[in-house]
Amino acid sequence: MLTVNTRIQQEIAEAFENGLRLRYGEALGALYSEVLRYRAGNFLEVDELRANLDTEAVPVLRAILTNKVESSTLSGIRSLMIGCAIAGDQEAVIRWATEELNRARQFGGEWADTVPQWEAVLRNPGDFVLFARQLKYFLMAI
C-alpha cells in the first residue's frame, strides 16, 4: 500500500488527482489518480512489484476460470492493470484492460460507467504505461 505519511503529502496527492482529471479528462484522469494511490509497498522495485502482481493475479484468474467473476474481481483487474502499468508491462496492461472493458460492459450499472477509462487506455497503452511510471517517479521524488 502506498502510504501517504503526512498531511502535506495527502494534499499534494489530492491536488494531483484534481489536476489529472482537469488535464486528461474524467476517464483517463481518474485512472491516473488511482496510479498515485496504487497499493504496492515498493512500487518501483520491479521484482517486488512483480511478486505482488503475481499474488494479486491468482484470485482473479481463479474467478475467471470458475466463472465466478464478481465486483471484487473487477476491482482486482483494475488494480492489476494499474500495477502492470507501473511495472512497465504493456502487454499485461492491454490484456487486463481488455478484460476489464469486456466485463464492465457485461456488468452494467456503475461498472459500465468505467468503460471510457478502459477505452482510453486501449487507445494508447504505451502512453498510459509511460505516464503511470512518470507519475510514480515524480511522487517518489517529492
Binding site: T55, V58, L61, R62, L65, N102
Partner: protein, 125 residues
Amino acid sequence: MEPRRVLVIDDEAIFTNLVKLNLEKTGRFTVREVNNPLEALAAAREFRPQVVLLDVIMPGRDGGQVLAELRAHEFTYLPAIFVTATMTQRGLQQRDDQIDGVPFIAKPVEPKKLIKRIEEVLGYS
C-alpha cells in the same frame, strides 16, 4: 508412437504459430491452432485433441468458458493446460505451476518447459 494431438487456443496467432512450430518439429506432436475461441468446439470435434492448451483471457470467451464448453460435450476428460501472460514464470513456479490444481504455464513459453508440461498432463515423461 503416433504423434499426440494438441489443440492450441489463443487469440494471438503469433503464439499459436510458435507453439505449433516448436511442438511439431519434435515429431512427437501434431498441433491444431484456433485463434477464435468461439470456434474451439467445432475444431475439437474435427481434430479430436488429446490435450488442449488455452489462454485464460481472450476476447469473446475466456479460457475457462471454452474449457467448460468442451467438457460439457464429448471432451469431458480432456486434459488442459492454461497459458497466461498475466503472471510471471517465477510467480507460477512458486505455486508449483498450478492454480487450484489446474496446470498453468506463463508466457513467454519456453518450448522445453511446454513439452515437459504437456507430457506430464498426458501421463508420461
